[in-house]
Symmetry: C2
């Protein structure tokens, strides 16, 4: 994540992971989610926070989720149904569940099918926000497989949606894609990106932190890009990654369309959508068994070599280090497990205030 998106030092409150976990699980259970669902949901958010993917941790998301449960637009006790299944695939009706509550189980179906048959893939419709895709891709990697996860769809939103290249109307969500692969000693490969210049949550993050957005990231409501740094406006569209056609915005747009096809169209859902379309609501999970292609131990050694090779590239003038996807996330996790997670003090205040309101004991520093 770009430096300006980290919580400013003077606003940081370091919280032990397990304390935040307990507080967050308690809030989910107060919303009607059972203990297993509360633990699963919380683990997604805390893992994102540990990886410094703060856009998809508790800071941005919990207030939305709690409000949606309270408003009755999320189903805390979903009755999941597999509506179609083959040896390697499943299509699941999410029954209005929050994505983070069921996503781990859905990826596990793909993993289990891949264990048996070599590959596995699962689509899910009628489900809420997935809390990013990295967690689920990494879940496959932790079980020794290559994992792929996408979420999003063809959704259009008046504000906050993605503009196709050359367009002035939104046609897609931010449509993130994640891919993960295990290594032996290196931090695992974990690639997790939105197909927009920035995840929509970064706009909220920038607003809270008080930093401007970069030129070429968003447009006004007529589709005209802001070509100077801009404070987050109330209404805007997101540009596909690349920003301009010359810098590859058609690639961001195209990957977003792939994501929409794999998550929504393949799940059997047409343009008008069906069921709960809360924040996208369509997901795709896939797993590839490594032993189905090559020797697993050799793969791990080759991954170590390849990742070290990427990170050892000579830096260009003005830079001091070359990264690979997952390296910073791995390092941050180690550091945050030891030192606590740096939250904005405003997040702690929100937890205390919602705890008081809902009569949930909150014990954060």
């Amino acid at each position: 994540m770009l430096e300006q998106f980290h919580v400013p030092e003077q606003d940081r409150v370091y919280v032990d992971t397990e304390r935040m976990r307990a507080a967050t699980e308690a809030l989910f259970m107060r919303c009607g989610v059972d203990e297993a669902g509360a633990k699963a949901s919380t683990d997604v958010l805390l893992t994102n926070d540990l990886r410094a993917v703060e856009t998809h941790g508790v800071s941005n998301m919990m207030r939305n989720y709690v409000a949606s449960y309270m408003a009755g637009t999320l189903n805390p006790t979903p009755d999941l149904k597999i509506v179609r299944e083959t040896a390697t695939t499943a299509n699941v009706d999410g029954d209005g569940a929050l994505g983070i509550q069921i996503g781990g189980d859905m990826m596990q179906i793909a993993i289990d099918k891949a264990k048996q048959y070599g590959t596995g893939a699962v689509t899910v419709f009628d489900s809420g926000h997935l809390g990013g895709c990295g967690y689920y891709a990494a879940q496959a990697a932790e079980q020794g497989m290559i994992g792929l996860c996408m979420t999003g769809g063809h959704g259009t939103r008046a504000s906050g949606g993605m503009l196709p290249t050359f367009a002035a109307e939104s046609r897609l969500g931010t449509n993130p894609i994640a891919w993960a692969a295990p290594a032996r000693n290196q931090h695992p490969f974990l690639f997790d990106v939105a197909c927009t210049q920035i995840a929509n949550n970064k706009v909220g993050l920038a607003r809270r932190i008080g930093v401007p957005l970069e030129p070429g990231w968003i447009t006004d409501t007529d589709g005209v890009p802001f070509n100077d740094p801009v404070d987050p406006p109330d209404e805007y569209f997101l540009l596909p990654f690349g920003g301009t056609r010359e810098n590859g915005s058609h690639k961001g747009y195209g990957f977003a369309a792939v994501c929409a096809i794999m998550c929504q169209t393949l799940a059997g859902v047409g343009m008008a959508g069906s069921g709960n379309q809360y924040q996208g609501g369509y997901h795709f999970f896939a797993a590839f068994q490594i032993e189905a292609f090559c020797d697993h131990d050799e793969f791990l050694d080759n991954m170590d070599d390849a990742l070290a090779h990427l990170a050892s590239a000579k830096p260009a003038p003005g830079h001091d280090r070359v990264l690979y996807p997952g390296l910073i996330e791995g390092e941050e996790t180690e550091q945050r497990l030891a030192e606590g997670i740096p939250y904005h003090r405003e997040v702690i205040e929100w937890y205390e205030s919602i705890g008081a309101e809902l009569d949930v004991p909150i014990d954060l520093p």
Copy 2:
């Protein structure tokens, strides 16, 4: 493709597809490829030319392929071996074959496995250039499936390779990725991009056509970007798509690393490589059976709706039309089948000259 890469009008020679097909098949057979292989190879290049993907048609590629066959670095009579196989996967030793000769057969293995089990995936090592990825992804779509194809690897090249974000040394190829899905009446979805700002072949194309490269597309050999339009230099590195970190170059770099893992590491090949590494030489093919997830007819109708919805978005100021991946390619194919393919006159001259040199009759206008 950006307008400046099309053949300038005064240099265009329109050639009927079947004449170019006959000339190209004859050249492949003169290089020692059997008739089936010559037909398969030619169909990849001609299909690219029909789709106006001129970087990966006969213009750029045939002279390289013929030179490689003549130099003995490509095997015209490969003995393919499946070195590992499961219900849904295969890993294939390409025995030094040119990728376009065997790629269609490799994707067909993935498609056939997906027909039986829902999904299928194939890796190939020790194989030459694949002629782009779009052809193979579209092959799955033509058979009613979703297709995914990648080619490339962890290869480093002194010039023409991709720089990781912040790096001054190449660590990856251009590592293209293609994804295709069928529709009922709309031109099929076909997304096919390099993970660099431009495909390496575009540098050659720009040189032949005599147009400069855009700012932020390539760097000098120290990794410093050319920030003004530049005539194609002899030595250069390619930037990941996005160009700068702020415009998402880490996303181009990350997708390229995904491609390297799926094509090379998953094929069991380590950093140092093995066998023939001609122009990358590692491929990944995957197919997803639509009926394994949802009703096939509904999917086709939903795709028609979704693609029409994308293309009907109101254009932004300064633009007259919004596209979706595959729309222009479909329209160009119809037009070129009717009018012939516009080649640069220099390409026709090369065919006539190599035909004379190798004693192969060439009958082009």
